[in-house]
């Protein structure tokens, strides 16, 4: 009985493994993808360079462009979160320029 069970288990395992055996071009066990590069252009203006340089360290710039228009308080809180919580290495004066840029070009003006 025990042998039968083992045989059944072995069969079951072989069946589920098929999903993996059939996988992909590679005959080995490696599964890989290549991510596309997506170009995002921020609006031209004072502070754009700093915004691209610092924000782009950790994430694509569409994290900015896909947001709704935010108040200056919301942009300030967002940049502060990146610096204080996420540890983004942005000097204070640069952070201020980034907040001003986001407020002017991606803000509600309030």
């Amino acid at each position: 009985m025990k042998n039968l069970t083992s045989l059944f288990l072995l069969l079951a395992v072989s069946t589920v493994s098929l999903v993996y055996a059939q996988d992909s071009a590679s005959k080995d066990m490696v599964h890989s993808i290549t991510l596309p590069t997506v170009k995002v252009e921020l609006r031209a203006g004072e502070g754009k360079d700093e915004t691209e340089r610092y924000c782009g360290i950790c994430h694509s710039l569409d994290y900015i462009t896909t947001q709704p228009k935010l108040s200056k308080a919301q942009w300030t809180a967002t940049v502060n979160k990146m610096v204080k919580v996420m540890g983004a290495p942005i000097p204070d004066n640069e952070a201020k320029r980034i907040i001003d840029y986001l407020d002017v070009f991606y803000g509600t003006g309030k």
């Binding site: 589920v16 999903v19 596309p36 590069t37 994430h59 709704p68």
Partner: protein
């Protein structure tokens, strides 16, 4: 209604990336202030592109005409930018340890030796429909497409923890995946479940989606499945399971993914969240898929209004539909029951007998009486959205 931008949008294809600006007649342009784009990522179909690094891809709504969402169309949401793009199964191991008798290091073959369990369950991002919040909130601006209905298969988390020998005194179980932060200061994405929740029978480490291996962007080679709960817990490319004797206090539990500690998970719009708890079970929702918003229908020509409904782990008891903006309601016909974690399709035959503008609405109720509000419930992170949606159609 913002979501009709996703179905009625002109777009231009350029090198695999499609740029689409909102071009919808009769809708105020400022509602579409944000750029909308389409993109095709590896193993995925053309998806609505929210962000590229890390990727956030939304499912176009027409896929929800089918009861099962195909793997290539299931939404994608990563948090930190160093995501896995290559996994060697001869090296990949799922490590299980912490407050356990044994430390396990499971290969894919080891994982597949546990009893294989399969069921269909809705996967939904906590922030699905965030773009509908008013006032607007910061975060991924999802329409209604950060969800899908998938048949998952894998091993019970409970069986894995049993094999490791979970020891008394465990309070939380944490889950880490292969994704890594771009800077050492960025909190790694680690989630946790209370130990009683982790030991529930239905929680899986899934290695199959709809009978196939997981696409890399959906968490190859295995992800946690917590059916009925929001997908923030469904850790992708799972690599470590750790039993803890003290409450887990990582950023993604203690600070992020929290909802107001109020019965509705909501607070007055625009106010600040005070006492909060980790987000957990999904709210009850329904959505009209056909006709699409802003459709044009013919007088006296019968149509079938069709949609989906689901809730956080309780079967849908009924769906009622209104074709007159909520004044009168009648029951919809429920489709095949695919289990309490799945969504259910519903249909409602309708013959518009006079021309004019009509507002279609649907409202689902689950088996424990949970339903949907007429007004959107608000919280500052844009979670739990389940307002009764309005589909505007014109009959000519």
């Amino acid at each position: 209604m913002k979501q009709n931008g996703f179905t009625r949008r002109d777009f231009l294809k350029t090198a695999g990336i499609v740029t689409a600006m909102a071009a919808v007649g009769g809708i105020p342009a400022d509602l579409f202030g944000e750029e909308q784009r389409m993109a095709r990522f590896p193993e995925k179909t053309d998806m609505i592109l929210l962000t590229s690094r890390p990727p956030q891809l939304e499912t176009p709504l027409h896929y929800f005409k089918d009861s099962i969402t195909p793997n290539e169309a299931v939404f994608v949401r990563w948090h930190i930018s160093q995501i896995p793009t290559s996994v060697d199964l001869s090296e990949w191991r799922l490590k299980v340890g912490g407050n356990t008798e044994k430390q396990l290091s499971l290969s894919m073959n080891d994982l597949m030796k546990f009893e294989k369990v399969s069921y269909t369950a809705v996967i939904q991002c906590s922030g699905n429909s965030r773009s509908l919040f008013e006032p607007r909130v910061v975060g991924g601006q999802w329409g209604n497409g950060a969800m899908g209905n998938v048949t998952w298969a894998g091993s019970r988390l409970k069986d894995i923890l049993d094999k490791a020998g979970l020891k008394a005194g465990s309070v939380d179980v944490s889950f880490n995946g292969l994704d890594e932060p771009p800077l050492p200061t960025v909190p790694d994405l680690v989630k946790s479940l209370p130990v009683d929740k982790a030991l529930e029978d239905d929680i899986l480490v899934a290695y199959e989606m709809n009978g196939k291996q997981l696409p890399m962007l959906n968490g190859f080679p295995a992800r946690l499945i917590v059916p009925g709960w929001y997908a923030t817990y469904w850790v992708k490319s799972l690599s470590e399971i750790t039993a803890l004797t003290t409450p887990f206090e990582g950023f993604w539990m203690k600070t992020a993914y929290r909802i107001p500690d109020t019965p509705c998970g909501c607070i007055p719009p625009g106010s600040a969240q005070k006492k909060s708890i980790p987000i957990n079970r999904m709210t009850t929702r329904s959505l009209i898929i056909e006709p699409a918003n802003a459709s044009s229908l013919k007088v006296n020509r019968p149509v079938t209004i069709m949609g989906i409904a689901f809730s956080g782990g309780y079967s849908i008891r009924d769906v009622i539909v209104s074709v007159d903006g909520g004044n009168t309601w009648r029951g919809a016909q429920l489709g095949k029951d695919m289990g309490r974690y799945s969504w259910i399709q519903w249909t409602f035959p309708w013959k518009p007998e006079k021309p004019g503008k009509f507002t279609l609405m649907a409202r689902a109720t689950n088996s424990i009486g949970e339903s949907q509000p007429f007004d959107g419930l608000w919280n500052p992170s844009g979670y739990l959205w389940n307002k009764i949606e309005k589909t505007e159609v014109e009959v000519r």
